[in-house]
Symmetry: C2
Subunit: 408 residues, 2 copies
């Protein structure tokens, strides 16, 4: 299995296009179209927020309640189509109908997704006109995938796409993906928006199984600001063009698929955390020596969600007491007096605490380690053999600037 | 019942003193001593954090496990005595012994509390020398109470003290209190540090009952940054000097006491939220029309804890979608399509949403309302008659500045 450059158009038979529909932003692409030449099996995970955006309700119905194929996804940035009532659902319908007409497929084969401001109605005519303009421009090139990955960005500063190749049943299988997410990121089901394509042949049941397990260890382990979005959506489409024997059960082939999926989603989850609004550093929290996996995950996630830890990272400050504090209020049990702690980055590794107390270390060395672009803290609980990692970012002035006047 | 100016020395028989012990800060008071002329019944609530500071363990043992009287409290700022292992507990012991010798009381009658940096040992000689210097300076004046309230501050910008007078069994009863808290505030039992004194005569059992119920509606309903401290402590001391018939059961007298206690703690909880690190505004979230009290509290608390809501308030931006979003991920169930929302302040009141969707309103008017020093959002769930309020603050550049280099 290898990670490779590329995105949603890397697997066989997927095409993409992007353009400027003028929904809210000016002078940039804000509409992306993703289409498979062949019908796809689909899997999806969605926000756990009680307030669910209209496209989340639309996609969930098609993927979770329906059994039919999926052929296309329409994504817009600028307006989230959340808190928009019945009119919001009508916008999803009209979007799917426009794609249906432009592509010659059924509206039930079209997924929709939106990201941006909540509580504002989308000018649907701009979406439908945009779809008609994009349909003839669909291409299976890397450039088309990249254009789509850019069009779905909001406050993201870098596009997020990756692909992986593996071999299943003697056939080369590719997985490609694009995500967006920078603010309102504390996924609880899946991340803000993530679209994964694959040419693997796999049953709908096994596809959902692979995705559901994977997001628990990837997108559900990142946090930018603790706010679980109304729009979180992660969709995985499989068109079967790789020609591998269809994966219908657990086993070697399923494991190979899951391994490649994990590599893709881990890469993108970290990319998303590191590109958190205003972030200057990716912060990884590893918990080792735990007696249970759930305990390790709860503690790791609590630490990357702490405003005080995040500001300490922004200040390159080895304020390890804040890490112990955030571990302590996580809700997981552990013995503080057994905890050892290290900071680590490209600049080195230093032990900070042992048995819940500070050891003698150089603040200067710690500050140097914490001044890198990617920083890891490891807490060993001294209890057992389980471990987990979570990813977040530092909290900077820039986060405030971005969010204090996001709508204006 | 009236709120009056004053603090911990307002009730009969309580004395205070403060001084500069040079624990960590320079050029300011960092040690406070609070003493009752008569033995006190005591009640306390403490942090739910698994990592508990040494003074929390010390006080909890005396108040919750012991049955003896309490006579004195020693509080220092600068270093929190958290994550300090066995040495931290020894510091509590030596502190209590020093107060015991200086005041002629038992070490078991001395509570201790600390606030400041975590993970650093307190130079205990400075504490013991400070206690010896302060003991002869103890006074029952308002100025002495104020000096104590100032000495326990860390990043607080204003001191927080208040008192209330009421009549119980024909006797005038006074309650006085001081609190500190600005960062690492997301109490889950009680606030950072709070010391309440009263001359009421009341049994230990009823004192704890009154305090435990009260903090659920006051200190447990505020949040500055979502970080539940290792040191949260709320202590209530009653010396009985008011001469009222001892309160030993529920009834009119107990209700009068609770009413005054609620007034004192609500005042201070709001004061603490409004003085959150870097805060420029107090943000109150009211939830009405709920079908259950717990539902209303969960939703209100989730909203004041949201980084995105807090930055919107900092930007005077009526970004109501973020409020709906934070309500939605609170964990409480409700129907988004029944929610109505208003913003309100000294500058007026405006309805923003009805039935989960925006109504037509003036952004200019909303911005004017959101530019005041105290801002309230009210969400009506349209379900029932229960309600709750929570208090937080806006999230500003200043919060980052304070916390990115707090230790230096």
């Amino acid at each position: 299995m290898n990670l490779i450059e590329g995105g949603v158009t890397a697997p066989k038979g997927f095409l993409a296009a992007a353009g400027a529909a003028g929904i809210k932003y000016e002078g940039r692409d804000d509409l992306a179209l993703l289409v498979s030449k062949e019908p796809c099996e689909s899997a999806g995970t969605f926000t756990s927020n009680v307030v669910k955006a209209a496209p989340v309700l639309w996609d969930r119905r098609i993927i979770r309640e329906g059994n039919g194929p999926v052929r296309a996804v329409v994504v817009n940035s600028g307006i989230a189509n959340a808190c928009t009532g019945a009119e919001g659902m009508e916008i999803c319908e009209k979007t799917a109908e426009a794609a249906s007409e432009a592509l010659g497929i059924s509206p039930e084969e079209v997924l929709t997704a939106s990201t941006g401001v909540i509580g504002m109605q989308i000018p649907v005519d701009k979406i439908t006109a945009g779809i008609r303009a994009l349909a003839p421009a669909l291409k299976d090139t890397p450039e088309a995938g990249t254009a789509a990955a850019k069009a779905i960005m909001t406050t993201d500063t870098v596009r997020k796409e990756i692909a992986a190749k593996t071999v299943i049943g003697g056939k080369e299988v590719t997985i490609g993906a694009m995500t967006k997410g920078s603010g309102m990121i504390h996924p609880n089901m899946c991340t803000m928006l993530c679209f994964i394509t694959t040419d693997a042949a796999i049953s709908k049941e096994m596809l959902q199984k692979a995705l559901s397990a994977d997001v628990e260890e990837t997108y559900n382990m990142i946090s930018v600001d603790g706010d679980t979005s109304t729009n979180d959506t992660c969709v995985l489409l499989a068109n079967g063009l790789a020609g591998n024997p269809v994966i219908t059960a657990e086993g070697e082939d399923f494991d190979a698929f899951c391994e490649a999926l994990r590599a893709v989603n881990t890469y993108l989850a970290k990319k998303m955390a590191g590109d958190g609004e205003g972030a200057e550093a990716l912060f990884e929290m590893k918990v080792t020596g735990a007696s249970a996996k759930a305990q390790a995950k709860t503690i790791a996630r609590s630490v990357v969600s702490s405003s005080l830890v995040k500001t300490a990272i922004a200040g390159h400050d080895a304020n390890w007491g804040r890490i112990l504090c955030a571990m302590g209020y996580s809700g997981a049990e552990f013995d503080p007096e057994k905890v050892s702690l290290w900071f680590e980055s490209a600049a080195g590794r230093v032990q900070i605490a042992k048995g819940g107390r500070a050891v003698s270390y150089s603040e200067e060395e710690a500050t140097k380690i914490l001044s890198e672009k990617e920083v890891t803290a490891t807490a060993d609980l001294g209890e057992g053999k389980e471990s987990a990692a979570a990813w977040g970012c530092d909290l900077t002035y820039e986060y405030i600037r971005i969010n204090a006047d996001y709508r204006s």
